[in-house]
């Protein structure tokens, strides 16, 4: 009975009636600032990771073996080490060395913690994007390329007009999963004190002691953010659909 009471007490949705985040002006402003920071982190990292992915995939199709080896090493390294340790490595190890003398004569970091978070997240997600795009390019049917050749397309035209559009459509589902993961990974920036959603929420709940309410708000916020991204990707997938394939 005791246990059941505890359980009911634990599940009681008092946050539903007592949403400090919404009712209190100061906390609401902070929460919205955190949300905006998370959105900025996500959008910038998505953008740079896509660029890294496209460049990496292009280089992996290059004739030079040395370049391919280099990109392969980059992908293997970033795929198989923990993103948190990568972030620490960039921020604490490299960030400590990359310093400039500020106006007051004291050493100042060259790149802010926000900057390092974007660099680390983009490199991590970018390495996965390289693999995704390469798989997409490889999955374009050989016969399609040969048919284009027979029609007299040049290699650049084939790549630009036939291989890439098809490869993008093929790699969209995997790309979507990775980008959703990237949005979730932005919480790692908490570890280097970037004032994003999780960091701000932790501040709010340690000041106002409303852990349960704030945790629920936090979870719902992230699920909402991810839902928006999934919706956008779904729309994109639908517009790019090739007639006659799939359902």
């Amino acid at each position: 009975m005791e246990f059941a009471n505890t359980l009911i007490d634990w599940l009681r949705p008092d946050w539903f009636l007592n949403l400090v985040v919404i009712s209190d002006d100061y906390n609401r402003a902070r929460y919205l600032a955190g949300l905006w920071m998370t959105v900025k982190l996500s959008v910038l990292s998505i953008f740079f990771s896509l660029i890294i992915g496209i460049l990496g995939a292009a280089v992996q199709g290059a004739p030079s073996r040395a370049l391919r080896v280099l990109v392969g090493a980059f992908v293997a390294f970033f795929r198989n080490t923990p993103p948190l340790v990568q972030l620490y490595f960039f921020y604490f190890a490299i960030g400590t060395i990359l310093r400039i003398t500020g106006e007051n004569g004291l050493p100042q970091p060259l790149i802010s913690n926000f900057g390092w978070a974007i660099i680390a997240l983009s490199l991590f997600a970018g390495a996965l994007n390289v693999e995704i795009f390469r798989a997409g390019i490889e999955a374009v049917p050989r016969s399609t390329v040969e048919a284009a050749e027979a029609l007299g397309y040049t290699r650049l035209q084939i790549y630009r007009d036939i291989v890439l559009p098809l490869a993008i459509r093929i790699s969209l589902p995997a790309l979507g999963t990775n980008l959703v993961n990237l949005v979730k990974t932005t919480t790692l920036a908490y570890a280097i004190a970037v004032p994003e959603l999780l960091y701000i929420s932790a501040q709010i709940w340690s000041e106002d002691l409303n852990v349960r309410e704030m945790m629920n708000v936090l979870l719902v916020s992230y699920v909402g953010l991810v839902a928006i991204l999934v919706w956008v990707l779904h729309r994109w997938e639908k517009t790019l659909r090739i007639p006659g394939y799939g359902e």
Binding site: E2, F3, T6, W10, Q60, G61, P63, R65, R68, V69, G72, A73, A76, F77, R79, N80, T81, P82, P83, L84, V85, Q86, Y88, F89, F92, A93, I94, T96, I97, R134, E138, R142, V145, E146, E149, R155, V180, K184, T185, T186, T187, L188, Y190, A191, L198, A202, W205, V211, R212, M215, L218, L219, Y222, V223, V226, A227, V230
Partner: protein, 286 residues
Amino acid sequence: MRPTPPVRGHMAVLHLMRIRSDALPLADRMLNVWTFAALMLAFAAVLIAPAFAQVAAPEKRSITAILLEWTPTLAGGFGFNVLISIMSMAIGTILGVGLGVLQVSPIRPIRSVAWLITQFFRNSPWLVLLFYCILLIPFQIEIFGTKIPFPGWIKAVIGLSLPVMAYMSEYMRGAILSIPTGQWESAESLGFSRRQIMTGIILPQTVKRVLPSWMNLYAVLTMATPLVSIIGVSDVMALTRAALSAEGRVDLLIPMYLYILSWFFIYCYPISAVTRLLERKYSVKL
């Protein structure tokens, strides 16, 4: 005069195109040896470079010596990470298989609830789930008079097993749905009950289909275990930071972090390499 050797493929243009669009050899793509060599080389370079500088200041200990000194402590921490990953994987897999089976249940409400749970845990960040478990699970639970203590690392295991459960559930759903409907129908016509069909016919076949994703998930989970250092469990990451602050030397930062990165790389790389091989082997040929 020797005859010219025959040219493979009779059209020069086609031949060139083939070279471009041929699948890259596996060795070029994955670079097991090369990546490892590069990592070790970078690691060695940062180790050796300060050693020359130390001729001037002999009272300082060399970085290699410091790393070796800390290795047993860090190894213990890394073992703890592995333990956490194995336990979360075990719990998450068992729950995930159950949830995945519920996701294809013929009863609509069960199906929807299982889908909702899966989507919720799949789309929330791992770190937030960890915080959720750490802050909201009580220190101890009293059931029938016995007090069961809940130390931080057990909460961390629970927190990590939740997303594993959700991913596993999705993989199971995909695998079950990928089995031809004809098998269900023929099993039904032979008089099997739904439970018998599921446990005797469908689930054994899903093992092969889920295995590569499952292994990949384990590698991802292992790489997520340093997160528990943020919530105060003394894993390898927490110990590394403790070691760094104990030594208090700026030139130790890069070697130390590279050292830890290479440990994770050595542990996770073989897993993802085998995953690739299995994916290739079990891939559906069109």
